[in-house]
């Protein structure tokens, strides 16, 4: 019978090592759990859990820190705890917590989730608090309409960003191109400012699969710019010739490598910030994030008049809501009311460059520093921007975006004929 050699580390020592390491591990784990923090005792001395993932972004961090401090001053004994999970996990985590009935006190909601959360009756109507503060949600920025049901406000926009045409002046000058005034000039500018051999692209559109929201946010401005739309009220219009024309335009850019292929929105933003993308139609935050992350390129960015045929544009909005199952609803609503005070609304503009809920809060010197922001203000509060999400069909909007997204991507990746692809999309949308 064979006997194997004794291993070079004695069993006793090996196990002793493991046991002491793991024992230390358990001790630290127990200590970690014990040091969690004192649970809130009463409504007077409460810790309000706010779940806003932007808290880690430059600009937003300062804004929220200031807001949290103001809250602690105004309501002594209470404080705000920012409990957000990392952004990539944010919406899944909030969904899990809402389903389980243990949501934070304030949650951030984006366009795709808003209808669903309202339909599931997960959000507390905010009218009592708004009325108490003398605020009428019907005077808020246009995006507020999406959060109203039967005259009641279920959420309040923290920011609503209409889309602006940004271009990189340095890249345009280098290519010898002036600011494009119409579609033909823009087409020419795109051609001249693209140089795939050095990784430079005339325009940025997110074309990665698996995120219909990301795709639509960057595609809709082009579609709207051609005068088309995927919905007319609740009637699908995917086969509208203007929509087809817009998609042909994008496909042409794709074929000629004038837009990057298969990148997501965040990477596109990174490229803009690094001066690799010469133009983009996006929210004003792109400009301000670039300023903070890369001032050299930020200085080259400029906003111009949209060169596409139609001035129609879209908005993307982030709301704040108070879940019905929240532990500190009253304080949570008061936190939101604090955000809506003029001081905090102005701070938001100055620190993040986004449009807050209430009109007339943009400081004059901010516009003096960024003259193009005046156009953003006009579009945003003038009600001319539409949501990229078909809020009018409620939660089915997510299925709609998925169908539209797949259709567009089949044109780009598989070379499907736009009319055919959109006919399929139209059929799917009609069946929803």
């Amino acid at each position: 019978m064979s006997v194997r050699a004794v291993p070079t580390i004695s069993r006793r020592r090996f196990l002793a090592l493991t046991a002491s390491a793991a024992g230390a591990g358990i001790a630290v784990a127990a200590a970690g759990s014990a040091s969690r923090g004192v649970p809130a005792a009463s409504a007077q001395a409460a810790t309000v859990a706010v779940d806003e993932p932007s808290v880690l972004q430059p600009g937003y961090k300062e804004q929220l820190d200031g807001l949290d401090q103001a809250f602690a001053l105004k309501y002594p004994g209470s404080r705000i705890e920012q409990v957000s999970p990392p952004f990539p996990q944010y919406h899944q985590q909030v969904l899990t917590l809402l389903q389980a009935g243990s949501p934070p006190d304030v949650i951030r909601i984006d366009d795709p989730q808003l209808s669903y959360y309202i339909e599931q009756d997960w959000l507390e109507p905010l009218d009592p608090w708004l009325k108490g503060a003398g605020l009428d949600p019907n005077t808020f920025i246009n995006a507020q309409k999406d959060a109203m049901r039967g005259g009641r406000a279920f959420a309040v926009p923290r920011e609503s960003n209409p889309r602006v045409f940004f271009y990189n002046r340095a890249l345009y000058q280098k290519a010898g191109v002036g600011v494009p005034a119409d579609l033909a000039a823009y087409r020419e500018a795109l051609r001249k400012t693209s140089d795939p051999r050095s990784g430079q692209f005339g325009m940025g559109i997110a074309t990665k699969s698996g995120d219909p929201t990301g795709l639509m946010i960057q595609l809709m401005p082009v579609v709207l710019g051609f005068g088309g739309a995927f919905y007319d009220g609740t009637r699908p219009t995917a086969t509208d010739p203007k929509v087809i024309a817009a998609l042909r335009f994008v496909k042409d850019l794709w074929d000629n490598n004038e837009i990057p292929r298969g990148l997501d929105a965040v990477t596109i933003n990174n490229l803009v910030t690094q001066g690799k993308v010469a133009s983009i139609i996006s929210g004003s935050f792109v400009y301000f994030q670039a300023q903070k992350a890369n001032p050299a390129v930020g200085a080259q960015l400029w906003a111009g008049k949209n060169p596409l045929p139609s001035p129609a544009t879209m908005r993307a909005t982030a709301w704040w809501g108070v879940p019905k199952a929240a532990k500190h609803k009253d304080l949570a609503a008061k936190y939101m009311l604090l955000l809506l005070t003029p001081v905090q609304q102005k701070r938001q503009v100055e620190l993040t460059g986004t449009l807050p809920a209430r009109p007339g809060m943009v400081p004059a010197d901010f516009i003096a520093k960024n003259p193009w922001f005046r156009a953003v203000v006009d579009i945003g509060y003038g009600g001319k921007a539409v949501s990229y999400f078909p809020q009018q069909i409620g939660n089915k909007g997510n299925d709609a975006l998925a169908a539209i997204g797949n259709g567009v991507l089949s044109i780009l990746y598989q070379g499907a004929a736009p009319e055919r692809a959109m006919q399929d999309v139209q059929t799917k949308l009609e069946r929803l």
């Binding site: 050699a5 046991a19 969690r36 999970p85 990392p86 985590q93 899990t96």
Partner: protein, 277 residues
């Protein structure tokens, strides 16, 4: 003959080098990316051998975040899970190998079933249960989940290791008067040390990398394990690539260190041929 032998060695060496290169290329790229200045991140043609190095962004990953706390949490959870999974899993694997009754086989099959449902769907029910048991936001609770998570492979792998160990040894031990536990502890286990090392590594790394349950059950930022903390570098609008890659490399180091420790367990048998009994 010697030339042929030398040729084979060179060929083998070249093959191994190519294999190693393929494996290590992405790691090299991660390292290089972590140290790239912003301007070179999206340069094309890509700079294979970086010109300027800028550790600034990478260092910022450690200055502004709780990465040290997160790593400490990860250590605690992973080490505890590995120990408990070992204590529970090794006897279980032995039983599955030596006792072949229907009850044993059914129980063994049941453990594997738990690995078959996409974990995404288990989050809400598990959250509800853990909330009832007041185990939320508690690293101890996370250890319980992770132990249950790694046990099936631990058990099955130990079973296969014990399967390879001839039952005559068990018989000899029994003749010597050992009960089943003594047989396992004194006689069979030392022979399965490489397997033990393998499952220890598996339990540690699997727990270290696990973030779905960690994200769901742990809400306090200072209790995050590093797997969740790593995500926090990815922002909503911008992702600082260098920081993500620097943090990722730091994240990988403990597993490497652990491997260096247990590597010795894999060396043992080489001298086996010299000892014949």
């Amino acid at each position: 003959m010697r030339i042929r032998r030398a040729g084979r060695v060179v060929l083998a060496g070249a093959g191994i080098a190519a294999f190693a290169l393929l494996v290590v290329l992405p790691i090299y790229w991660m390292l290089v990316t972590a140290l790239r200045p912003d301007a070179d991140l999206f340069s094309y043609p890509p700079k294979v051998f970086p010109g300027a190095l800028d550790p600034g962004r990478a260092l910022a990953a450690f200055k502004g975040t709780n990465i040290v706390t997160w790593l400490r949490n990860s250590f605690a959870v992973s080490l505890a899970t590995t120990l408990v999974a070992g204590i529970l899993g090794i006897p279980a694997g032995y039983a599955m190998s030596r006792f072949r009754s229907r009850a044993v086989r059914t129980a063994a099959a049941a453990t594997v079933i738990t690995q078959m449902m996409p974990p995404l769907l288990l989050l809400v029910p598990m959250f509800l249960v853990f909330r009832k048991l007041a185990l939320l936001d508690n690293l101890g609770g996370l250890v319980i989940v992770d132990v249950a998570w790694v046990l099936p492979l631990t058990v099955w792998m130990m079973k296969s290791m014990f399967d390879a160990s001839p039952p005559e040894i068990d018989e000899a031990a029994k003749v010597d008067g050992c009960g089943p536990f003594a047989t396992l502890w004194r006689v069979v286990l030392p022979l399965a040390l490489p397997g033990l090392a393998a499952v220890a590594m598996y339990a540690f790394i699997e727990t270290w990398d696990e973030f779905l349950f960690a994200r769901t059950f742990i809400t306090s930022v200072n209790l995050w394990p590093a797997s969740v903390g790593l995500y926090s570098f990815e922002g909503e609008y911008l992702v600082p690539e260098q920081q993500v890659m620097a943090a990722a490399i730091l994240f990988a180091l403990p597993s490497l260190v652990l491997f260096m420790f247990v590597r010795k367990a894999f060396i043992g048998s080489l001298s086996a041929g010299a000892v014949k009994g």
